[in-house]
Amino acid sequence: MNCQHVWESLSAYLDGVLTQEEARAINQHIESCPACRREWLALKATVQALSCMEEMEPPPGFLQYLNARLDEEPLSFWQRSKAKVASLSRGKRSWPAVAAAVLIVGFVGSSLLGAGLSSHPASYDQVASKGSGSEQMTTNPSQTAGATPEVKSYALMTQDAAVNNSAPPTLGNAPLGEVKPKVPAGLGQESASAGLQDKNLTMAIPKGNSSGGGEGIRDSSPAPTPSGSAGIPVADTSRKIITSGSINIVVKEIQESVQKVEAMAMEMGGYIERSSMAFREGTNQANANVVIRIPQGRFADATSRIEALGRVKAKSFSGQDVTGEYVDIEARLKTLQQQEGRLLAIMGKTDKLSDVLMLEKELQRVRNEIEMLQGRLKRLNHVTELATINLELQLAGDEMAPPPMDFWGRLGHAIEASFFNLGRKIERLVLGLGEAFSYLVVLGVMGLGGYIWWRRRHPTK
């Protein structure tokens, strides 16, 4: 094997996609050729540097802008309804009927569902508040004690978040079966209660808290990992979990809220990873993005304190369980260390120079690997020690109006929204006609020509 060949295969060697023989050949060459070894080390360092590049924060306002674009995106709904109608009437070929059906279904359907699917944020919020409001009422009257009403009535995604939090594989799918998949937000009370029960029964990790209250949790959450859960042996106590959460919240005072969050992070012994604020000129709109890292054990506390700052629009918590990976690395480390010990022992016994040289080489390889694994362990420790909270703050505009909770209020809003949607649909229709104008002109000219021709052929008597 020459150096050129090695140069070409170094990446594949690094990624472990070579056959065993090839890998062994490369390994041998690297050990004996200083130049190639330098190449190899530098290449490894480069790849490592790439993988160490940190994740970046989208600019402030990223989500708002995306949402605005999504509002302009009737596509997926339209496509689906069109496809449905097309498949229903396949074979009949009664095109006018199909066209009419598409129009009617699209028009009626989108103005009915529009509130939830593709229209302005205000009506989307209504649906949200409707849904979770009733969830709160039917499911956990006992739990709601501590938090502010705004937070509760808007805690749209709470249940999922709770389940998400208790991510460790053992309790993964329990509530899934109960959730009706196609029901739009707000109609799933039963599933919600199932989710909550499940959470209460199985949550060993205290960072859940989710839907408000949570005083009990707060008190009992000094450290989630060691010594936490009741009497379950080893495996459960040393869980390694990368906890992160995103919260999208509407507040009345943006600067003050940001300061509070930052102060909280410091007070908890964490730090601020990033904080930015943007004001939209000419309006009173503003938003901020804060990313804080706090000790795992304070996660529940931190999220509930953040949620108390204003009205939660959306949140998601996730716990990525890396225990498996961690244990795996530890096991490999142990094996390697044993191997190192054995090699050292053998080395002590032999005097033959060639043997010593060979053993030294092997030892070097083993130590190299040990170091890499130790590095990985250190990194895992680092990311699991601190939880990340990504916070999007938005200044409350006039949409801060209290959610209409009684039937008549909701009816009023539904009607209002329906008119709004009607307006939008008509606007769209007119725009569509405008777009089709050139075709209409062409068609008109053709029609006129045809008419004149027809009149010439059949002159009136």
């Binding site: 990446s11 590049m53 939830g116 170091e371």
Partner: protein
């Protein structure tokens, strides 16, 4: 669970979709940034990718993990954009003064022993080096080392055969490495790193002497 959120997002639930976005926006933006190399294009492309995700979510059948699927969506969007640009304008342009700054080794020279990239400036440099790679190399490198796609996956996204993918990844990494090594800004730490890493260099010198 995530599957539930995905199911609801597929059915057109905007709130569920928003949750997915919240969870993955950083990842998507970061990848877009690595591909494009500047915040404006990254912003546009990340938005584009998330819109694409919205549009093609009904097509997600759960055959792979959601993250894998999303990675493919993002990779596709970035590939299209890069190829589009390749057709329009000559790609690689260095911002003014960058070369000079490199050559004279301006700026603080950190002699941090821990690793190649410690401070923000260095990170920006590494990104700049990635930008300077020819687009085909850049795509292969990012898909492999940032997104973590497998060789096979990259081959399918780029519509290339496995051998080409292997060689592109290898060449891209070597180029980046050479750039790091030759750069006065990086070189000292780079060597330092190699030495510190396992003390082999010293052994070697001893042997050579």
């Amino acid at each position: 669970m995530e599957e539930d959120i995905i199911t609801r997002a597929k059915a057109g639930d905007r709130a569920a979709f928003e949750q997915l976005v919240l969870q993955y926006q950083r990842k998507v933006y970061t990848i877009a940034y690595r591909f494009m190399g500047n915040p404006e294009d990254a912003n546009d492309l990340a938005q584009e990718a998330l819109l694409k995700m919205y549009r093609s979510l009904p097509g997600f059948r759960g055959e792979s993990s959601f993250l894998t699927w999303l990675n493919h969506v993002v990779a596709n969007v970035c590939r299209d954009e890069l190829r589009k640009r390749q057709r329009q304008v000559p790609m690689v342009e260095l911002p003014d003064g960058f070369e000079q700054a490199c050559a004279t080794g301006e700026g603080e020279r950190s002699t941090h022993p821990e690793g190649i990239i410690m401070d923000k400036e260095r990170k920006a440099y590494l990104q700049q080096f990635i930008n300077d790679l020819p687009p085909e190399y850049r795509m292969a490198l990012i898909m492999r080392d940032i997104q973590g796609l497998s060789y096979e996956e990259i081959a399918s996204v780029l519509n290339l055969n496995l051998g080409t993918v292997k060689s592109r990844i290898n060449r891209a990494r070597h180029r980046l490495k050479d750039r790091l090594l030759s750069d006065s800004y990086f070189a000292p730490t780079q060597v330092h790193l190699a030495v510190c890493k396992n003390g082999q260099e010293q052994d070697e010198r001893r042997r050579q002497a």
